[in-house]
Symmetry: D2
Subunit: 183 residues, 4 copies
């Protein structure tokens, strides 16, 4: 459990003004990191993020998308392609485009969180601490329970510093239909 | 919100000793009321109850089944038929057979809770108060969140008496694939 | 490929008069052998048989159910229990109750076809030959294609005698959620 | 029923040489017209086309994709974007990029067939006649049966000229999750 690094973003969609984690203190934040050409994100991650947005109240839980492109950068890295994707898939929440890494490295937010691939789901508590980081699928019942747990508890003020914990799921060795692993 | 009426049961399966709500004080109790020939129970209600049992720890959340037979009583009312059903469908939690009502009335526990049909899901908090009563389907994310909310809050000692509230779902006019309505 | 043995039946439901395979010559016959407490039958086999009935015309393809009870005989062997099941699950086609075997043996039709368990799907051509016998799941696209193939070809008059062929699927070693194996 | 117009294509993927309908005479041809950002194509149309390719033998049935971009042309119209999409979604069959229409008109093959949107599925018989054209979803059992019917019958030599028939499904008034309608 440690303080969730601020997002490093090159552009936002579906929002009038950029969003910072700092300004969301006091609310639980759910971030769905995805790529528009990642089958597991399209089939599972993004629909689940939509259900989070529908299940919890805006003043309690903020859902954000994070487009962390680490594959096929030329063709899915653009703002216009993402905007078209979001229109067709009716993504209702703000989506940030992760700042590209230098010299072919992973995007900056992806790198700061040590994400292994997409979809990755981040749970940040009211105090801004990163509480869970899941790579791959997580079931709805457990996710609903975890978010509610954060809603009720997480006003702790101390940010214990520790290594990132990316969740209970094993990392697949390679890219599968369910998720895409970073190199 | 009111005190959950004690179960009136003619037999128990999957448990060595009968279970009472009184002895479960301090834990959250999830009761899945079902009929073995109710398609909505078989396809949705019972699998969801299994997922509750898998998602939460036994010492926190107790899952019980309640066989509330109000249709086809002769053929699905027996203990042996239910035992065979539970074996085939691998139901892992204790199941009570609701005490038959007198003179063709609804079974007694079903009647005491004012259930409209099956599947019905009851959520009882640590203090023994009935907090939710759903007739028909409820989605996993919301249910996970509600159970977690009860886990963290419900040590209130006062049992406000009020009319039963059987949840947000409308009652279908008749028996459908998704649920079976009592007469 | 051999002549499909006539059904040995102790009762029929959903039909005014008993049905014989002999009288169905000229039509393709699809028989879904099931048990009402077999999870794989309820979740997959019977819904697929319904889709066959909806997809093809009555004058071309006849769909029949066959209740082949080899487990929990006391509780799912009765006509009333089956009638209640068929009402709740809205089974639209005629269903035969397989004649019980003597001294605890498998039911007679089940035995005559060498079925390994439920669900089993039989495909009988216009000439009365048994053309396929599947134990377990088969996908819709292949089944649709096989039925159409029989519809167009099977007016052959010769019944080659051969050992029964119960399909491409391996038999599971034991009873699973997907199918129930006979002893 | 009329002769299927030849494909007008600006590029092919997943094949060494361009494919023409003319050279496929004698085989049944199934064409899945799609857009990579069309949710109904990704969730239903393309997976079904894969199942066709898996169910029937190559020498009997040829499956082709046709990328008919009429929306978001700038971002999903490129060959590289489509190649990345096909890689991620593991599309195993050859895919043609429909030739762009002049001055903002619909792509040329799409226009020649009078397609209303995506996904559209075309069934062409052994003689090169267009036998079905479905806009939107079609169930697997019916599709399997129709393909088998064409496999067995369609060596007719006469191409009756008639207006295109694009299937039994109504056209939705606007773009939905299930399909995307052309303007």
């Amino acid at each position: 459990m440690y303080k969730a690094p601020e997002l490093k973003v090159c552009a936002w969609l579906n929002t009038e003004a950029p969003v910072t984690l700092a300004e969301l203190r006091g609310r639980v934040v759910v971030i769905e990191a995805f790529q528009m050409l990642c089958p597991g994100c399209v089939a599972h991650g993004l629909p689940q993020a939509k259900r989070v947005a529908e299940t919890f109240r805006d003043e309690d839980v903020v859902v954000l998308g994070l487009h962390t492109v680490f594959e096929h950068v030329e063709v899915q890295g653009g703002r216009d392609a993402l905007a078209a994707f979001m229109h067709e898939y009716r993504i209702p929440f703000p989506v940030a485009i992760d700042a590209p890494g230098e010299q072919g490295r992973l995007p900056e937010t992806m790198s700061a969180y040590g994400m292994r691939g997409t979809p990755t789901l981040l749970l940040i508590d009211r105090a801004g601490l990163l509480r869970q980081q899941y790579f791959g699928a997580i079931d709805d019942m457990r996710l609903g329970a975890e978010i509610m747990s954060l809603l009720q508890h997480s006003t702790a003020s101390t940010a214990d510093r520790a290594a990132p914990d990316d969740g209970a799921l094993d990392s697949p060795a390679a890219c599968t239909e369910e998720s895409c692993a970073a190199p």
